[in-house]
Subunit: 243 residues, 4 copies
């Protein structure tokens, strides 16, 4: 793992170019872990999304340096539903070596679909599934879930619902005078809220502690999904009194 620093959860083509060029220019390169693949998440860990220009620039750098490009789409459906989204399945198929379509976080019981675009990576892939302990005797369980998710636009619908509820939370929090910690157009909301208020909310609502902010406030994360009832969002916002 060669982590690159990031303020908004995204890395840039220029960062990748600089890091990789510096690695191969270093006379001691063979003593150091070699960059071989770029790993992105769409959406990122803080809910932001790469746009088509960013992805395209990264893909070009990857090709220039013979790096593979992998996009982790554990929450992929939520990126499709984000306002301003312009990276969809055909773009990922064209501008990545491989990417995953997350099932677990988009309504499936379990499973991620892996799409391998780079034919050099396809050889012996099923042997690898077996070797790594990932081959299920009743693998149809995985297939049937994805077949269902991609019928009649269900996958998109699940993403749209989750994102819509998350954005209601984000707007409601701001309308009540509180600040967001990150600008996430997807199904995660990062908010700076008073500890006292959070304590009260925790009686009825689930959120994840993200980090301390200051003496009085913490940053917390709210996540929504296909299973978030709109009335629960209303109740949450009702629980947040105006500042």
């Amino acid at each position: 793992m060669l982590p690159l620093p990031s303020a908004d959860g995204k890395i840039t083509a220029e960062q990748i170019r600089q890091y990789t060029a510096a690695h191969f220019a270093d006379g001691n390169a063979e003593h150091i872990v070699q960059p071989g693949m770029v790993y992105l998440s769409q959406p990122t860990e803080v809910g932001t999304i790469y746009d088509k220009g960013e992805l395209s620039a990264i893909w070009q750098v990857c090709q220039a340096f013979e790096l593979k490009l992998y996009v982790d789409g554990a929450r992929l459906g939520n990126s499709f539903a984000a306002e301003g989204a312009n990276v969809f399945l055909p773009d990922l198929a064209r501008m990545t070596s491989a990417f995953s379509i997350g099932g677990t976080k988009l309504g499936a019981l379990f499973g991620e679909a892996l799409v391998i675009n780079d034919s050099a990576l396809k050889k012996d892939f099923r042997y690898m599934i077996k070797q790594r302990g990932g081959m299920l005797a009743k693998g149809r369980l995985l297939g049937i879930q994805f077949e269902t998710l991609f019928e009649d636009g269900l996958y998109d619908e699940i993403g749209r619902h989750a994102v819509k509820q998350a954005q209601r939370i984000a707007e409601g929090i701001q309308a009540r005078g509180y600040q967001l910690f990150a600008q996430s157009p997807t199904n995660q909301v990062f908010a700076i809220l008073p500890k006292e208020l959070l304590k009260a909310l925790s009686q009825e609502f689930g959120y994840a502690f993200w980090q301390a902010y200051d003496e009085q406030n913490d940053v917390v994360r709210f996540c929504t999904s296909w299973a978030t009832p709109p009335e629960m969002v209303t109740a949450l916002l009702d629980g947040i009194r105006k500042k």
Copy 2:
């Protein structure tokens, strides 16, 4: 992997003792793979079962040589239902380092329960699940299946049904003048049948080719499960004309 030869799918305490003693007596031992764990299947790959005396003898050898003993119970429920079976869960809990209780082959959608008896093996086990890619976000899917299998004797019932149907096949085949290839008291039947007959059966029934026997005959395997209707066994036997 250090395979020991076996005629009936089982290995013996004496084989293990001899192999291990010979290994450590060899001055070149450190150049050779070291025996560290004994791996058995109950029932075995050819449907036979270890009895309590055999398991106990193996367990004693393992303790004498500080070998771990693992019993793979992918089809465990079928061993409990076999005629003459005298190794049950409490015996496995007492005389193994760890053993698995298979779900997939006993009616579950997927999953095996791993029972670790040796406390030295418990440390960091959940870290290992994560490291090896085996930790599910919705792990409750596994738990709920085993909870259900062990309510009201369901697990035993599934095994009993499968074994009963398999034994009907075994007896029917012999009654029609054909021979069994192995004596399996569980849910697998290994039979020597004419190729011509097999071809006809394959229109309606599934079996696995096991090995060639002679010019006219092959050895094939029939498996039964919770989902095998008794009338299908009847139909199969009806399809096998007397020799």
Copy 3:
């Protein structure tokens, strides 16, 4: 690898304690790499050394959290010869799980001696050497070098010579009005020198670029060894004109 930040190449008992305590207090610990061993270098990568109090404090934290403690002694002999050194072989034998005694950087052709103090780590160690491709057919080549290094104080003498020459460089550089970048009492000297001067020195002397300092100056590293002639140090200092 879980790196801890350090200004002088050393980490502290308190850093280890805090990191480890925080890890195990985190409800998501099993999703995160677990601290299992503390890895130090003596001397460190920037030539500094741990004193007995620091090592003892680290050893106590390791025991409290059941962490192994490994000291990488690739340049160990140089730490023994440093001014103020009070950590010697008996201390390492008493306060580490394992440590190495470097041969390659102390005059040997190749090889490091590994001293394992923790008996739990000794089991099957020679099997591991073999498994990892480290077992030499003519292993006596390693043994004879260490036997020789530890006869008649040769190992200590090699360290003393290297450190003495390095300290002459350090003092000479300061006497000529230049600054050191790090305070290293061993055989490495980190100096801030004008690029122009460095260019001239590079005709006759070897040094390693360490990092850029400012427009006019770079940080470089000079290393000495058993093979550094005192007159070469004199020549180097003669080549550095007063500022």
Copy 4:
């Protein structure tokens, strides 16, 4: 490891072809270890050698099935000196993916030279040396030995001497009425000798027990090298009285 049976230490192109074809014809192939590389030793573990026709046939099968071919030449120099040898360095360079030239058993202190012919295997090779712990700080120690071995025919001379002394042993043993266990034209002699005689010889000569033969006799192996004095062979044969 997928071992193929062999009577004389060699495997054949036909064995490889059959095994590989059967593997890929098996519908369950992805559950089974896949053949990816053929690994030969020249000379073999019992001192025999592949001739050019055999190597060529194996190389053709490897290409047909896209298998890599690796020849382990730990004792390579001895194969060059064998009577009837017709596989030399240019043949190995042309008909293998990679092969090694053993140093340790041909007079070097340590080290094997690896010759990679298949350019697909060259990428990142030095990174792999580092990753696997095989990169020496003073790697020139390896280079200088091979440079010396390949000057003025030294490598060949070492092999010729060893093989000549071994063949003297083989002929002498047969002349005294004893049988060889294997026909080895290289530097290893496998002889069937009376236990009583072996006991007497062991006072002055080193040999390796290979396997029991019958009540009175054992199979043992004598090895020769660059360091075997001809007079020691004479003394050995003097110690073997006529049958």
